[in-house]
């Protein structure tokens, strides 16, 4: 087991390195750098001005060298301008010579400087991650129990009306991407002119103008049911259908097993069969699915945070990518790669613990 985890960690590290290198390479292609220089300097920069801006900041060195600098294994660039100013990757203008560090990269704990937000990348990413963590927690709290309930209810009597209704429901949710359900929810539940809200307001059932708030910006400081439920519901719905279908499949398989038949013939109550005999075995397969679903939630988070204007990690990704903020984008991709790989690892290890028939050699 220990060797298995170690080997997986090694592969994870290698994957993360390759991925960040690809991101690094793509963001450092010349047209992207030119765009960066023009957004940072001004849009009417001449080609020479762009060259000197980029050259002074070490952007025109070979990609492996730049990547090494970001990692912290190659000394940072130092530029001395004609008027005697000295500045570098690791220190600003006017730092005394003895205080200038040579290396500053991820290994030294320095994630760089965001060109969009004019802040250090580390704290920026952490704050945004905290906000998205709040969103994800609510999503998982809503999605996983309801998906499991739907799946178990549908799977306990295969072919019944309940099975068919719930299965149709789960297929429908997997066919509704976040940007479709989000748009429909906002139009139906959060518009002061259309859908349910005007009706309910007329009848005096709701105090505010709309049933829910169509923007989650205020939920960043103070999340309430009113301003936070729609984004949570939108993300949960798309992920839910898949988990529910997997749970259903695993439940129907368990319900046809020999030991269930034995229990039925012994005369055990149906509810006891479902809760005591079937449920535990039926939940092994969905566990893996739930863990593997978490990276998918990341996509949903990006869409929903854009749609509902919730300034979390997904919103950060969009900002970083659309402004070619290289170091911020690298930090964002490192975080998302770690999320993907760690959930894979947890799902593998958890599967072994849940299912004693599987052994890792």
């Amino acid at each position: 087991m220990g060797i298995f985890i170690l080997r997986r960690l090694g592969v994870m590290l290698l994957t993360a390195l390759c991925l960040t290198f690809i991101v690094f390479w793509l963001t450092n292609l010349y047209p992207n750098l030119e765009k960066l220089a023009k957004t940072q300097g001004n849009f009417r920069m001449s080609d020479e001005a762009v060259e000197s801006y980029l050259g002074n900041r070490g952007y025109l060195d070979p990609t492996p060298v730049k990547f090494g600098r970001w990692l912290g294994v190659v000394p940072g660039w130092v530029t001395e301008t004609e008027d005697g100013k000295v500045f570098g990757r690791c220190f600003g203008d006017g730092t005394p010579e003895e205080d200038r560090p040579r290396f500053c990269g991820v290994i030294q704990g320095d994630w760089g400087f965001s060109t969009v937000f004019k802040e250090d990348v580390g704290p920026t990413v952490l704050t945004r991650l905290g906000l998205t963590g709040k969103l994800m927690l609510c999503v998982i709290l809503l999605m996983v129990p309801s998906a499991l309930v739907v799946g178990v209810l549908a799977g306990m009597r295969e072919g019944s009306r309940m099975d068919r209704s719930l299965s149709t429901f789960s297929i429908a949710t997997t066919a509704t991407p976040e940007y479709v359900s989000g748009v429909i929810f906002i139009a139906v539940l959060a518009s002061s002119r259309f859908g349910l809200s005007p009706l309910l307001a007329d009848w005096g059932w709701i105090d505010s103008k709309t049933l829910f708030l169509g923007s989650a910006t205020s939920a960043m400081d103070d999340a309430t049911f009113w301003n936070f439920f729609l984004p949570v519901l939108t993300i949960s719905l798309y992920g839910m259908g898949y988990i529910a279908r997997m749970t259903r499949a695993s439940m129907t398989e368990v319900m046809t097993a020999q030991y269930i038949r034995t229990a039925r013939l012994k005369g055990v109550k149906f509810s006891d069969i479902v809760l005591k005999h079937a449920l535990r075995n039926a939940l092994i397969a969905p566990f893996t699915v739930i863990m593997l679903q978490i990276p998918w939630l990341l996509n949903g988070v990006v869409i929903v945070e854009t749609l509902f204007n919730y300034k979390g990690f997904g919103w950060l990704l969009v900002q970083a990518a659309s402004n070619n903020d290289i170091e911020l984008l690298l930090a964002v991709s490192v975080v998302s790669v770690i999320v993907v790989l760690v959930t894979q690892l947890i799902s593998d290890i958890g599967y072994v613990f849940l299912n004693p028939r599987i052994r890792i050699t």
Partner: protein, 488 residues
């Protein structure tokens, strides 16, 4: 001209429809509640061992629910039929139904022919034994016919999808056209968007964009996945480790990050999408070449002409596809010459090409993993061992023994994946990547409509529902196919 209501002169039927829908909903809910209470012996066996309908309260409610369902379905069909006869007399729904007449005809012909000859049509024919599969197929074909008839032959649309009509900005569905000429269609059936264009016509034109790109991109992804997945699963070893690592690498990227990195004008300038297109689009060529060669290499006199003709045609298409304006790759600093323009059959704009490449690139690793898993499983079968003993080559075994036996799961996944590709295209449009902002495809339209969502939702809701119905149709179709392919 007056503004249209949703159902026009058929409005007297609305209370009946609501009643039927209400009864159906209540009956379903009650039935689900009742199913928590165990009820023994509601199903009796009649004479001759035929099971009778459920009796008692459960049976009654079941019947009520079914009648409610059929009544609502019948009423909806009635609205559509009235629309075909009366046109806009039957309101917006009627007007749309009239516009869709060519699509209805095509659908009815397809279904009539398919059901008539379903026993001779293999797996496709068996689809018509499953209700779910038929519903899914109907939804998918509805949009396919709409895309082809409306997008290519301009039959269904009412206005030009790009022209702006003054005075129609953000107008509600059914608004009469301002300052209409007699020759114009007199209404904006689904209203106007924020640039005063007809939402209905853009919806139809958008379906053509989706119907074109999604299946093609999925086919390419399958070609890449199959061509790499079969040897990875069959040979195993170092090749498998390497290819799986690459696939996992791509899968570890969040999809949206890939899109944001690849589908930007700056990346198009570097020529990277063209290189990726050259690599990714060669796979169908390789696949076909290996497929034919492994089968026919024992008969060189047949193989050589067949290969030359087929590979010539496909190769020509391949070169036309990857070369634009006589160049394979065109950047600011250098150019790699490609097919001369007079030989170039069609041009894909750089914007569309990069979307295509990105979608194939995202989908291919998943297909690779599925094919690899199937190959790993199937290569242990006896018929593979028999082929090995006969002395067949490895590619023959992979493509003519393993692949046909893996077709069931692959066909099902193909349907699901077209749906997923449609969702991905919508995602690209939603973030304003790739296709130009006036493109009528559904994702871009949703993106344009969401800014005024709480005031004028119709411009975003219409494409959202269209996308939902197409993807739902594909999922139902996949479900029906899975059911039917498991049956034998």
């Amino acid at each position: 001209m007056e503004a249209l209501t949703w159902t026009g002169s058929m409005s007297w039927l609305n209370p009946v429809l609501w009643l039927a829908v209400g009864i159906m909903a209540v009956a379903y809910v009650v039935q689900i509640m009742l199913s928590f209470i165990p009820a023994a012996g509601v199903r009796t066996i009649g004479t001759g061992g035929v099971a009778a309908a459920n009796q008692g309260i459960t049976g009654l409610i079941g019947k009520v629910g079914a009648y409610g369902f059929f009544a609502s379905l019948g009423l909806v069909v009635l609205y559509l039929l009235a629309g075909v006869v009366m046109g806009t007399g039957a309101g917006i729904i009627g007007g749309m139904s009239r516009q869709f007449v060519p699509v209805w005809i095509a659908l009815i012909v397809t279904f009539a022919l398919s059901i008539k000859f379903k026993r001779k049509l293999g797996l496709y024919g068996k689809l018509f034994d499953s209700t779910v599969g038929m519903i899914g197929f109907a939804l998918v074909m509805f949009w396919v016919f709409t895309g082809i008839l409306g997008g290519v032959f301009d039959l269904v649309i009412t206005h030009d999808s790009l022209s702006q009509v003054s005075g129609m900005k953000n107008k509600l569905p059914g608004t009469a056209l301002a300052r209409a000429e007699p020759a114009d269609y007199q209404w904006f059936l689904l209203g106007g968007d924020n640039l005063a264009r007809d939402v209905f016509s853009r919806l139809i034109k958008g379906s053509w964009v989706v119907i074109q790109i999604a299946p093609m991109a999925t086919i390419f992804a399958f070609m890449v996945g199959i061509t790499l997945g079969l040897p990875a699963g069959y040979y195993g070893g170092k090749l498998d480790v390497f290819l799986s690592f690459l696939a996992n690498l791509i899968l570890a990227f969040p999809v949206i990050l890939i899109f944001y990195l690849l589908v930007t004008p700056e990346i198009v300038l570097t020529g990277l999408p063209s290189y990726m297109a050259i690599v990714l689009f060669v796979f169908p060529l390789v696949f076909l070449a290996v497929l034919l060669n492994s089968r026919l290499y024992t008969q060189p006199s047949l193989r050589t002409p067949v290969m030359i003709v087929i590979l010539g045609v496909i190769g020509w298409l391949y070169l036309s596809m990857i070369s634009n304006d006589g160049a394979l790759v065109k950047t600011l600093t250098y150019e790699i010459p490609g097919l001369p323009t007079f030989l170039d059959l069609f041009d894909i704009g750089p914007g569309l090409l990069v979307v295509f490449v990105a979608v194939v690139f995202v989908n291919a690793p998943t297909v690779f993993r599925i094919v690899r898993g199937l190959a790993l499983d199937i290569k242990t079968r006896d018929y593979v061992a028999a082929a090995q003993t006969r002395g067949e080559g490895p590619w023959y075994i992979m493509l003519w023994e393993i692949l046909p036996n893996a077709r069931g799961p692959l066909i099902v996944d193909f349907c699901l994946r077209i749906g997923y590709t449609t969702i991905l295209l919508g995602t690209l449009g939603f973030f304003g990547l790739g296709l130009e902002s006036e493109s009528p495809d559904w994702g871009t339209t949703i993106n344009a409509g969401r800014r005024l969502l709480s005031l004028y939702p119709h411009a975003a809701i219409a494409p959202a529902l269209a996308l939902l119905s197409l993807v739902l149709g594909l999922n139902l179709l996949a479900d029906g196919l899975r059911e039917e392919s498991l049956r034998d």
